[in-house]
Amino acid sequence: MSPATEPFMNQPKERYNSDSWELHRAVTPKLIALFLLLTVLIGWSAHNTEMDRAALENIQAVGALIGIGDSKVVSGATGFIRKAFPFVVKSKTETERLDNFDPDKLPLFTHVENVTEREYDTLTDSYSEVDIQYLVHPFGYLIKVLVKMWETLEMAFWGTLFSIMISLPLGILSARNYTPNKAVYSGARGLLGFHRSMPELIIALFFVLMYGFGPIAGIFALAVHTSGVLGKFFADEIENAPTGPQDALRTSGAGKLKVLRFAVLPQVLPQYVAYVQYIFERNIRTATVLGIVGAGGIGMELKGRWDLFDYDHVSTILLIIFITVMLLELISQKLRARTM
């Protein structure tokens, strides 16, 4: 008997009922319909969000880079890059604008520079040469940016501190096993959700209206938004804490708050520290942009310089922000390795 005619398995049968069973099919009309629908939706959305134009611009940009035609994208980028370097480190101030400037008693590290500049006179429609004296500080601008960066870090610190102060009580109230009643639970959860759903920049806009320009608005904005995030983390952590020790203290007659303090808090503390660290890092990153709406920090300087097309100043600021964030990431990684 050849293998081909040999009956499959050892019970030969004329017909198998299973021959008419429905098999698994990878491609079904339903799947094709779904795929078509998705394609249409994505196409529509891409047009809505100008993704088609983006593709076109990118192709043009590549063309411009290899020397065919010109591109808005490339000219925009080169416009920035041409002016962005070198980084501005020194600061220049016209001596005429300084009150009681004494050329014999210059401030520390500064020197005086005389520059001849052409000045346009609108009345006579002619150029004239003017000698302007500048007081130059070799690291003046760098120091200014660093001071602003420090202010940004401080904003993040206070924002995180207030955030903890808001989220700790709210977190406890929105932990299902420690909330006094359902209404308080829903209220606290709702409030945390509300805080979470408001982006910092938008809250900052409101606080700028209320407190004026400056770090107060930024700090409060950070505190409100991140308390929503932190509070939820805190609450979830309390709910998931091991129940054994809690039961042990409860059956010895200890009240809710004491059980929370001694059976829950020590257990969740490492996690809390990790969350706060994460929120602090996040707050530093956010604080750098809050200045754009006038809420203090390095972003205010950034926005001001950007609007004046001082891209060389902007690049200094960006560099400092980059270095700071990198450094903090490094430090917090070291810290985390120690606390875990």
């Binding site: 040999e6 054994g244 039961d247 042990a248 010895s252 007659g253 200890a254 001694f262 020590p266 257990q267």
Partner: protein, 267 residues
């Protein structure tokens, strides 16, 4: 002083975890609760410390019926030792013992973890009594060995100067040499304070050695109540059934018959 009047615990599906148990335990007695797993030992203890509410009958402590309203007051007069210890792992041994006195510590002091020196001294003495050395008391509970943790748990249970101490399989997770010393410590500490102890055990030999009185539970019913010398082979058999008492149950292993495997011939 500790009375159970015909208590039962019936679950919704009709199973009776505790079925019509009546008990009277006097002051200072060291009672050992014996019985196979699932006999209702933990449930019975839970009824006494208020974790489990009896569906029938009543628990009477010091002539007063245990109710939801006076539960906290009763719990303060009782100590509890658990099989899984339930210490707070990240707190120091000393702090865990002090936790036993939380109900008596003011809220403000508790929140900032500032216990009065008097209480700390008391905790140290208890720790000395359960033979924990000074160098260990500030270590986190999770860093202590099983035996040391159980000593801390005993000290915690006695911190509130309890009249009744319930110990739910206190030596289940310890090796035999440490088990003996832990039960000895438990008994000795209780004897000095004239505290009543209700301790559930799986080791019959310890029950025979330490108990003033043995209470046997089987399928939620009282199966034995008497002194260790009354616990003879017949009583043990009634209590644990036909199973060999101290040994682990070994499930019968069924080796299946190998199925008929079709042989494929290759030409």
């Amino acid at each position: 002083m500790l009375e159970l009047h015909r208590v039962s615990r019936v679950y919704e599906d009709g199973t009776r975890a505790i079925d019509n148990v009546s008990l009277k335990i006097g002051k200072g007695e060291f009672c050992v609760l014996l019985g196979p797993s699932g006999a209702g030992k933990s449930t019975l203890m839970g009824m006494i410390n208020g974790l489990v509410i009896p569906t029938e009958g009543s628990v009477v402590l010091w002539g007063e019926q245990l109710e939801r309203a006076n539960l906290k007051r009763f719990q303060r007069r009782g100590g509890m030792i658990y099989q899984k210890l339930h210490l707070v792992p990240r707190l120091s041994g000393l702090n865990n013992v002090l936790n036993g006195l939380l109900p008596e510590t003011s809220l403000l002091r508790s929140l900032f973890n500032i216990f009065p020196e008097k209480n700390q001294r008391r905790a140290c003495r208890l720790l000395e009594e359960v033979e924990l050395e000074e160098k260990h008391i500030h270590r986190r509970a999770m860093a202590l060995s099983g035996g040391q943790q159980q000593r801390v748990a005993i000290a915690r249970a006695f911190m509130s100067d309890p009249n009744v101490v319930l110990a739910d399989e206190p030596v289940a997770s310890l090796d035999p040499s440490i088990s003996r010393s832990v039960i000895t410590l438990l008994k000795e500490t209780a004897r000095q304070r004239e505290a009543t102890v209700l301790c559930s055990l799986h080791q019959v030999e310890y029950a025979l050695e330490f108990a003033d009185r043995i209470i046997g539970l089987r399928a939620g019913r009282l199966a034995f109540d008497g002194s260790p010398k009354d616990l003879n082979a017949q009583a043990l058999k009634e209590l644990y059934g036909t199973r060999p008492v101290p040994k682990m149950e070994v499930e019968e292993c069924v080796v299946p018959e190998p199925d008929f495997i079709p042989e494929l011939q290759v030409a």
